[in-house]
């Protein structure tokens, strides 16, 4: 629902800004990252230019703010449990289930978000860590904010969520760039790269790209084997383990 609203809002904003219609042309230094056995994270540069639809540069009086959001396409279901003290023992007491939890969320902006647009506008586009639309899972009830905050806090310590206000820089009046340090544990799959230009607290133009994180070589082969033929994968794991144990005892017998 919120996605639809966001799309409508962009359309409305673009219609309203028709007088000064502009284009946001954005690019990404690599649109496919291959995870190999030596993958330890990588840097990606998101860049772009804002110009008038006519192709002319923006007038020098027109200032824009840029926000870059990178998030995983598919949301996860997550259960948050809270420990409380019962007698001398800490045990799980309260729990909440959440839907719509992105596996990865990165945000970079020219200035602090609160200076760029109002909370309502940011909310529409899910811009900002504290505005990710985490909702109760189907059939679950909502709960205190602390459960939601626990998700953000945990994901931040794992480097999966991050927010860098002021990290988008303008090279000239209309050219901007920002560097994204993808962590080594970034989930494989498609990431959405969303770029928004703001003026006077409204989105004036936007652009969407896809960044594909793909396992290759042996990593991909093993992962597909594990998921498509789980029984054989399990049997192979057991047999190889037993074989390794057997070989080790042989190797040691000869030396003894």
């Amino acid at each position: 629902m919120r996605r639809v609203l966001a799309t409508l809002a962009i359309a409305a904003a673009l219609a309203a800004g028709a007088a000064r219609a502009e284009d946001l042309a954005a690019g990404i230094s690599r649109d496919k990252i291959e995870i190999t056995s030596s993958f330890t994270g990588t840097d990606v540069v998101v860049f772009g230019a804002i110009e008038l639809e006519s192709g002319e540069a923006l007038p020098a009086t027109e200032m824009r703010d840029v926000v870059v959001v990178i998030r995983s396409d598919k949301p996860y279901l997550v259960t948050v449990r809270k420990k409380d003290q019962v007698g001398p023992i800490w045990m799980n007491r309260d729990q909440r289930r959440f839907a719509g939890v992105p596996g990865y969320y990165f945000l970079s902006s020219t200035r602090p978000l609160k200076d760029i647009a109002s909370a309502e506008v940011l909310e529409q586009f899910e811009i900002g860590l504290d505005r990710i639309a985490l909702g109760p899972a189907p059939g679950a009830i909502g709960g205190p904010r602390e459960f939601r905050e626990a998700i953000l806090r945990t994901k931040m310590t794992q480097d999966l969520y991050s927010q860098h206000e002021g990290a988008v820089s303008f090279l000239s009046g209309s050219l901007f760039r920002t560097t994204v340090a993808l962590p080594p544990n970034v989930p494989a799959g498609h990431l959405k790269v969303l770029v928004y230009a703001f003026a006077d607290g409204q989105v004036t133009s936007s652009s969407t790209m896809t960044l594909f994180i793909d396992k290759t070589g042996i990593e991909r082969g093993l992962s597909e084997f594990a998921h498509h033929w789980p029984l054989f994968y399990g049997l192979a794991a057991v047999l190889l383990s037993a074989l390794a144990g057997f070989l080790a005892s042989l190797a040691f017998r000869e030396r003894h």
């Binding site: 995870i35 190999t36 056995s37 030596s38 993958f39 598919k74 949301p75 996860y76 279901l77 997550v78 259960t79 948050v80 449990r81 809270k82 420990k83 409380d84 003290q85 001398p88 023992i89 800490w90 799980n92 729990q95 289930r97 839907a99 602390e146 459960f147 626990a150 998700i151 806090r153 945990t154 794992q158 080594p184 544990n185 494989a188 396992k215 042996i218 990593e219 991909r220 093993l222 992962s223 594990a226 998921h227 789980p230 029984l231 994968y233 399990g234 794991a237 057991v238 190889l240 383990s241 037993a242 390794a244 144990g245 057997f246 070989l247 080790a248 005892s249 042989l250 040691f252 017998r253």
Partner: protein, 307 residues
């Protein structure tokens, strides 16, 4: 040097994991314990997702117990008949265990139950064993098996029907106590996610009165099957066995186990029991402290999967 784990979806330090495998393999070969109760928390400490840690450590246990059993077997230190009876009971126990585990999971208290049963089992077994072996060490190293088993001596386990002769263990006892022990181990193996060696080893020494040397090999024999079953179950239901992580752990584990067996032999059996008791008590203490100390973050996340 880092290597990327395809199932855990994160890189780890190769040497760290091999070293960890070797250390756990050493304990496994020496004491006849699987080592899963040490390995899993360590892997999780380094950020491996719990499901992957639990599933993958069982492959390492298969490898190091096979490695250890073969070495013990060549020395005539495995009682396959006793192992078979234990295993038969173990199968029954694991079927019961799956039902108990599902009931606990539905109540959201599986973790607490696991920790509490660890503390209770480890504490009582470790405590008794520590006391007994300390006495034995003080009185000049008589082993339980030889010192207390006078010819024709009878204990409560000896009065039961269905008597069987276990040549290797030099026992002529009812098959019921080892089978019941097997049921208990199978049940705990499923519920607690362990091979059960640290319970099985003391039980064989003190309840069945088997010679310490035979106990270690026989326990490892039993653990191979429990761990293999567990690996298969995890691979099928969660697809969480990480082959690369397994290879690294096994590489360290199989060699560690070989050194463990050899070092264990040189140790007097009362000292061996004392060391195992100390290890069990340390783990018990750690888990107990974790239950009582306020957690650094009272919240914990369980990612259930894609929507």
């Amino acid at each position: 040097m880092q290597i990327y784990l395809p199932i855990a979806e994160m890189p780890v330090n190769i040497f760290l994991i091999i070293g960890l495998g070797a250390a756990v393999g050493f304990l496994s070969g020496m004491f006849g314990v699987g080592g899963g109760f040490i390995l899993t928390p360590f892997l999780m400490f380094w950020g491996i997702p719990p499901a992957v840690a639990v599933a993958t450590q069982s492959t390492q246990i298969v490898a190091s117990s096979v490695s250890g059993v073969l070495t013990h077997w060549r020395k005539g230190n495995v009682d396959f008949k006793m192992g078979g009876v234990l295993l038969g009971g173990g199968l029954v126990g694991s079927v019961l265990g799956i039902q108990l585990f599902n009931a606990l999971k539905a109540a959201g208290q599986a973790d607490l139950f696991i920790s509490l049963s660890y503390v209770i089992f480890l504490g009582s077994i470790g405590g008794l064993m520590f006391w007994e072996s300390l006495q034995a060490v003080r009185h000049g190293g008589s082993s339980v098996g030889s010192a207390r088993r006078e010819p024709g001596g009878h204990y409560w386990v000896h009065g039961w029907p269905l008597k069987m002769r276990f040549h290797r263990s030099k026992l002529y006892i009812s098959a019921i106590p080892p089978a019941l022990l097997g049921v208990l181990i199978g049940l705990l193996a499923v519920v607690m996610g362990i091979g059960g060696g640290f319970i099985l080893v003391p039980a064989m020494i003190y309840l069945l009165r088997m010679p310490t040397a035979i106990v270690v090999g026989t326990s490892l024999f039993q653990i191979i099957f429990v761990a293999a079953f567990s690996t298969l179950l995890h691979a099928i239901t969660n697809q969480s066995v990480d082959a690369i992580l397994a290879v690294l752990l096994i590489l360290g584990g199989v060699f560690g186990a070989q050194f463990g067996v050899r070092y264990g032999e040189r140790l007097r059996s009362d000292w061996l029991r004392l060391c195992l008791a100390a290890l069990v008590l340390m783990i018990c203490l750690r888990l107990g402290v974790d239950l009582v100390l306020p957690p650094t973050d009272p919240f914990n996340l369980i990612v259930e999967g894609l929507e």
